[in-house]
């Protein structure tokens, strides 16, 4: 495993495009957080996002993981280009000839996906912990480390999403088209979701389909946290279930396995 990670890391280390995307990703990561903690003063408006309770433990785990996950698209670009580059430079062929098996090739990419997901999760943990310690109204250890399942959800969400991107990259071989396909798929899912919603309202059936769609199932792991926020909750009076259930985790794990295994089958069957 270490050897495969080293191989993958070596491939990425010298790529300028990858470096730029990673720098954008991590700087956006921090700038959003900085933005939230800045106090705005325009004349008589004195506003600080942090004062609205978004950085209170344990709510911060939910809030930060949800919003940080939006940035995952930058890492997705890295993932997609890391596979399309292998096709466009024909280095996949060369790797295989040099003695890497097709299984090892897919595994090395999957390990990289895991590494990205772990790194991002670790970062969001540290950043949230720091912000919480500064701004949170509650600082008891028991409260700080409660409801941390959102970090797990965040990790699985990234892993599943990156696996999907990887699969699209293998399937389409070109980064731009793979990202396009991702976008198209997102629209398809939205349409299905809309149709199901109308059906549910008309016929009073339960929505059996949408929770199983890949992007939707990944999104369900960390649902939007705003309705839980004090001011929103009191003004709209909606209660949304944002707990993570075992079957939601299972669906994402199954999708991840399908995407990785599917990529392997594609690479195995293809003549290079």
């Amino acid at each position: 495993m270490l050897r495969l990670l080293q191989i993958e890391f070596h491939k990425m280390r010298f790529s300028r495009a990858t470096k730029v995307l990673l720098i954008i990703y991590f700087s956006l990561f921090f700038s959003i957080i900085l933005f939230a903690s800045i106090r705005f003063k325009f004349g008589n408006i004195d506003f600080q996002l942090a004062d609205q309770g978004i950085f209170n433990f344990p709510y911060i785990w939910h809030f930060n993981t949800y919003f940080a996950a939006i940035l995952k698209i930058f890492l997705a670009l890295v993932i997609v280009s890391m596979i399309s580059v292998e096709y466009s430079n024909r280095t996949l062929k060369q790797n295989l000839i040099d003695g890497l098996s097709k299984k090892e090739f897919v595994l090395s990419k999957f390990y990289m996906i895991l590494a990205f997901s772990v790194a991002s999760t670790l970062l969001i943990f540290l950043v949230s912990l720091g912000l919480g310690l500064i701004f949170s109204d509650f600082n008891e250890v028991g409260i700080i480390f409660s409801r941390m399942e959102y970090l797990g959800g965040y990790f699985l969400k990234l892993m599943g999403f990156f696996s999907f991107c990887f699969f699209l990259g293998v399937l389409i071989k070109r980064s731009a088209f793979a990202i396009g396909a991702l976008f198209v798929w997102w629209i398809v899912e939205s349409i299905i979701k809309g149709i199901m919603m109308v059906q549910v309202q008309k016929n009073e059936i339960t929505d059996w389909l949408t929770p199983f769609l890949p992007l939707e199932s990944m999104g369900n792991l960390v649902k939007e946290p705003l309705t839980k926020l004090g001011i929103v909750k009191s003004s709209f009076n909606v209660v949304k279930d944002s707990n993570i259930y075992w079957y939601q985790i299972l669906i994402v794990l199954v999708w991840t396995a399908v995407f990785i295994w599917g990529s392997y089958v594609l690479i195995k069957k293809r003549d290079l």
Binding site: R3, K11, S101, D271
Partner: protein
Amino acid sequence: MSTFLKIRNLTKRYGSLTAVKDLSFDIEEGNVYGILGPNGSGKSTTLGMVLNVINPSGGYFQWFDGQMTTHNALKKIGAIIENPSFYPYMTAVQNLELVCKIKDIPFSKIEEKLELVGLTDRKNSKYSSYSLGMKQRLAIASALLNDPKVLILDEPTNGLDPQGIHQVREIIQKIAGQGTTILMASHLLYEVEKICSHVIIIRNGKKLYEGSVEALDADHGYFEFGVSGDAAELINFLKSSSVFGKVRMDAESKKVTAILNRPMEASEINKMLFEQNIVLAHLVKRKLSLEKRFLELTNNSSN
């Protein structure tokens, strides 16, 4: 001597097209093999299959008597296929380090191999800045990193300028001189003739000839006859004789050629014909050049 690569009934079909058909041959230790054939005859497809990048439709191949999996066997060999493929944003050294990591070998040979192919000066330049000849030489350095037991080359001089061709050929000959087993695909006869000890000729994916280069060269030649009158008697006699294979008459020059099945001197056939009351106006014994022989072999199979 052991068999490094065994190929049996290897077949590759692309839809209705059969690129390689029932191909079988062995690669023995210490020999230099050339796969010779016109463009599109299935050479690259064959090499692609034994290198694990093309899935065979039938038959099988076995590296080192099947003692290890194909991808582990590939770590022990060196191969260059078609165009060299490396990561354009890495330097030569960085690219070779990656190959070392894949092959699970230390970095210690990198400098030595770059020296061998004459790239030491440019070792820290990005691959994207290399000329085709330099790329091809880097590919050779990369294939030699593990001091391979077998070196596989697919059209190693394709697309190079004369200087590049000369350099690459020299390197290959140097490696062959060290006793490395080489399997090289080429459509250039003289290249194979120069470098290889054994030759496998294929056309349309089928094997036409397999043997040493000398044996291919050592045909018995052919006679060219000319008579002043009617040639029918001469042709009938030649055709009835077991000494000759193909007999044919050139419509324009009215000369008859007959290919020999066994060695025979010109005086001998002259005497035989004279005894048959056939008087020759013209008699020449010729040898087929390797080139002609190759064309003969590849053209015959199309009829």
